[in-house]
Symmetry: C2
Subunit: 427 residues, 2 copies
């Protein structure tokens, strides 16, 4: 029965019962963390044989004749470009290989726009106002980068098919201070939404007022499917932008951080030739080149897309039961109460949970009180301000199934308790 249909007396009784259950849980002294999208130890072990592919006998020369151990090869070895291009659904000539983290490539791209400007446009540090559009809920580390550079962030609601494109189109075409939009187009963080073909095409067809407007397309979960038989594919934004006559309008990012090792993967950026040439001029100053030995290691281990996909199914075998454990508990405990909604993703690293308005912070605090750490409420919004205080990001990847069961049972209890308290306030 929906909580909102309960009488005040019934809610009071329910509250007392839930509080008693909460005290029992609290007494268990749990210490669990569902806050970050970290791979589990088991997942990391899946990749451990990558450490065997290079040894003291390996011929360390790339296909272009470059000794991977020496200086040179600023934009990456050809075979790494091929592998990352395949993963991102584009072609090697659009790729520059980076270091161990796509986040750094994103930061550096924004920093470069701030200090030097993109393709000859005014550096953002010389402008009075720079704005970014931020589909919400979204990825906290994207918002941290733009906040760091004093960029004003505007929330864009997400729909089933991606960001609200009517709003994006109107804002982008009407305001030259809007210089970018953060996107996670596939298995979005945290909702697991995949952008529809129409959404991708509408992105490619944008007619921005700012010449240096770019789509920051973080294809973080390009191959991070949870199911072998339910894999979503999205359109390639690079070629769609080319077809629409806007080849320079997008920077795409990806990495193997959640494919091989989280701190020791290979990152890549995909963009038009003009954008890559512009970037390379700066890279020549910034670095003597990224780690080509690690690039070679990845290429020899994964070989090709088939190798990547087979590897990711091993990850999926670890991840799927965890997602299903949490989702079953949410379904069982909260389905008919009309106090929350959640999504069932087919890939990515998160479950996005919508509590009643004004309840998210209290639920996260309540969980913490009993020893379960969730992502901070508000973290999925710019400036950590969720206007409805309702979104909570659940990250099931790191704990074991037993730990997740404990954590999710506590979570649903806290959701019920905080919701009842909220409903009583209104009575």
């Amino acid at each position: 029965m929906a909580y909102k249909d309960l009488t005040k007396k019934e809610l009071m009784e329910l509250k007392a019962s839930l509080e008693a259950q909460f005290e029992d849980k609290k007494a268990l002294g749990l210490k669990l963390d569902m806050s970050r999208g970290k791979p589990s130890t088991a997942q990391l072990s899946v990749s451990q044989p990558i450490l065997d592919v290079l040894n003291s006998k390996t011929h360390m020369v790339a296909s272009d004749g470059m000794d991977c151990r020496n200086y040179g090869g600023l934009t990456g070895i050809p075979e790494a470009k091929k592998l990352m291009a395949d993963m991102m659904g584009t072609t090697p000539e659009h790729i520059i290989i980076g270091g161990n983290a796509s986040l750094t490539l994103m930061f550096d791209t924004v920093s470069r726009a701030y200090t030097h400007g993109l393709l000859g446009e005014t550096p953002w540090c010389k402008l009075d106002q720079v704005k970014f559009l931020c589909p919400v809920p979204g990825y906290d580390r994207h918002f941290s980068i733009t906040e760091h550079f004093g960029i004003e962030m505007i929330n864009i609601p997400m729909t089933e098919n991606g960001p609200d494109m009517d709003m994006v189109e109107e804002l982008v075409s009407g305001d030259a201070s809007i210089k970018g939009i953060w996107c996670v187009p596939k298995y979005s963080n945290p909702q697991g939404i995949c952008y529809s073909d129409e959404t991708v095409r509408r992105f490619a067809a944008l007619t921005p007022a700012a010449r240096d407007f770019r789509i920051y397309w973080d294809n973080a979960y390009a191959i991070h499917h949870l199911y072998e038989d339910k894999q979503i594919e999205i359109l390639d934004i690079i070629s769609e932008c080319e077809k629409a006559g806007h080849p320079d309008m997008v920077f795409e990012f990806a990495s193997t951080s959640k494919v091989s090792f989280s701190g020791s993967g290979v990152a890549a950026i995909a963009a038009s030739k003009a954008n890559l040439d512009d970037m390379e001029k700066h890279l020549t100053i910034q670095t003597i080149g990224y780690d080509k030995v690690n690039q070679l290691r990845h290429v020899l281990f994964f070989k090709d897309m088939a190798g990547l996909n087979a590897h990711m199914m091993k990850h999926a075998d670890e991840m799927r039961p965890k997602f299903e454990t949490v989702l079953e508990i949410l379904d069982r405990e909260l389905s008919n109460l009309d106090i929350a909604s959640w999504r069932k993703p087919l890939g990515g690293y998160f479950i996005s949970f919508e509590a009643m308005e004004g309840c998210a912070k209290a639920i996260v605090a309540k969980c913490r009180e009993a020893g379960v750490i969730l992502t901070g409420a508000g973290a999925t919004y710019p400036y950590k301000k969720d206007p409805k205080d309702s979104n909570i990001r659940l990250a099931p990847s790191f704990p074991t199934i037993d730990e997740l069961t404990e954590a999710a049972e506590l979570f649903v209890l806290c959701v019920k308790l905080v919701s009842v308290e909220k409903l009583l306030e209104a009575k």
Copy 2:
């Protein structure tokens, strides 16, 4: 006999003879490169066993319990901090471990000062004028970074003991727009000069007008000795600055780029706690952490300073004969002609050569004409402008001894020819 004492007729005859020799050399169709400080293939092979230390059975957990394969550990694993601190002559609490290149740490440090300011000072992008002192000749990539950010560079002459400290002290204390100085304190690039104790202490005692003035202390060749029995040690700038009451005045940089693999080493920055805390706030935004697997690989391979030193002596065994080959040819061919001088370094990667004024560009061009690529004349000066057009950086590390012999023989011939032409101009 000194060329300057030759008559015009003698010079004309000499010129004809040298030109004939040059044409013979040119006919050989050489293709040699002495332009960059790249390790040779033999040197890289010395480090190849580093690829054996990690494998699918290795326990990948650092001494602080961190799984090196996962996210976390933003500032580096403790054992890597220890190793790099030992290498740099400082202590682990002064260290943040970076990615594969100290150049990137330097770029990022300057970029951070430009966009956000250091320890609360005004970001340089908001100032009308920012200047750096540049001891010359120096490292071209340092000058590229400051030029990239529009920073005005002021030449500081080098002496036998380091930069001209009278000039440094006067400028730094009198001009608040001077925000930094680039230093390579040990086996300097390109001269191989090691800063004396007095120089280091005078650096530590500087009283800059700008609160955000920093010494950018690139200890690139900290352990890159050429001789086992002639190793220079310099004072630790970090503790000297502490003793002088200026703990925040220095950023020190180093890496294993020329210890393990050039593109796949481990870099580090050393600084005061206040500077490191300031940096860490930005790093949290910029990266998910650097490559801890590679940090672990380096620690397990080198173990400690004794391991590093033993390894560097293997490099020295490769490098020493190359330096001696070039130096012998310079000595034999140019010693008594009074047209050039050069230094005999005890470490580092370069031989610095001073031609007669106005001759460096012509010598480099002449070498190129016959197939030997040298570092561009002027590259050792800010804006690539050597005011005397006399300094040439020779980089003997990469070619084989046979190739070096060929290259050096051609080089001395070109030096003679260009010098004779210069002397004839004045007759």
